[in-house]
Symmetry: C2
Subunit: 162 residues, 2 copies
DNA sequence: ATATTAAGGATAACAAATATCCCTATTTTT
DNA sequence: AAAAATAGGGATATTTGTTATCCTTAATAT
């Protein structure tokens, strides 16, 4: 069970978009080049962010993406779920219903206890991702990344932002 | 991102094995029939449990599986990891290394902050599963499952336990 | 001896993730 | 008005992982 690589892409793209000045947009082309990713396929991830309402887009030259909310209002969970989907990692196929000892018409009221426990673990994962905001990431990155690299990256983005 | 269906199978099989009297064994055939699962493929899941040391096996007629530990000493995490593997759900492909602004020989010391946060969420998921013991499940099931069905199921298993 | 079992290798069928290509509508630039 | 660049999305390969079956081998009980 491995998350799509698009999750890593989307999170890093949002981190870049968070540094974009008000009202400017950054294109798929620039984001793909910056991260060394296949432009066409990255585009699908960005479309997912767009459909989830996390980013705004404009068309034409100087078009592209910008965040739809402030980084402090955008959680990891929203970004991850936008590209990975909102379904649970544990899927119950109700194998308990195959128990040969069950009465023919018998039907359970509640979900299986096994599934409920697995879903609680899923919820713990979601809770953790919900507790981290994009602004938290930005803060960590701005401390960890050497300031000259940070500056050059900002400049690189600004050159290409429409 | 969806867990293997074998996870559901393994958890239910362990729940059945937990009800087995001391020193008795239950075969793949019986476990597959009880849960309505493909015998040969379920066998792979049970082999995973065996390789992880969670169950004991014996060969020959009246052979099969029994738990290697008391249900109170067996966690959900152990069972899930036995069949699903121990790798993280988030894989970092280090796309930050593709940043065109980086100095040629530059190499990061620490894992990317994005990955660290995603791994913390993984850890929260694991923590939850580690906190639930097989004995906890047994307790819930014995309360929820109608006692006559419970009795018939026990009898069904005992008839086939070697 | 015979029957039954777990273990494991080989392989096929199927589904999902990854990736590319191409077309359309929109918008900016020229 | 024309041209260029963009997001969006449909179609379609390619690759990988999951699901499933088959078969052989070694061990064990009857
Ligand atoms: S029947 Fe699906 S988890 Fe129990
Ligand atoms: S480079 Fe992989 S998560 Fe940041």
């Amino acid at each position: 069970m491995i998350l799509k690589s698009q999750v890593e892409w989307a999170l890093h793209c949002c981190a870049i978009l968070a540094g974009l000045p008000e009202g400017r947009y950054l294109s798929t082309k620039a984001l793909a080049e910056f991260h060394g990713l296949p432009k066409e396929y990255l585009s699908k991830a960005l479309q997912s962010l767009s459909q989830a309402g996390l980013v705004h887009t404009t068309l034409g030259p100087s078009g592209g993406y910008r965040l739809a909310k402030a980084p402090a209002e955008l959680t990891f969970l929203e970004i991850v779920e936008a590209v990975e989907g909102r379904s649970r990692t544990f899927v119950c196929t109700n194998i308990r219903a195959n128990n040969p000892c069950r009465a023919p018409g018998y039907c359970e009221e509640t979900p299986c206890a096994v599934a409920r426990i697995m879903w609680e673990a899923d919820e713990a994962w979601r809770d953790k991702l919900r507790s981290v905001r994009l602004s938290d990431l930005i803060e960590i990155l701005s401390q960890e990344i050497p300031s000259d690299l940070l500056k050059r990256s900002f400049a690189w983005v600004l050159e290409r932002a429409g």
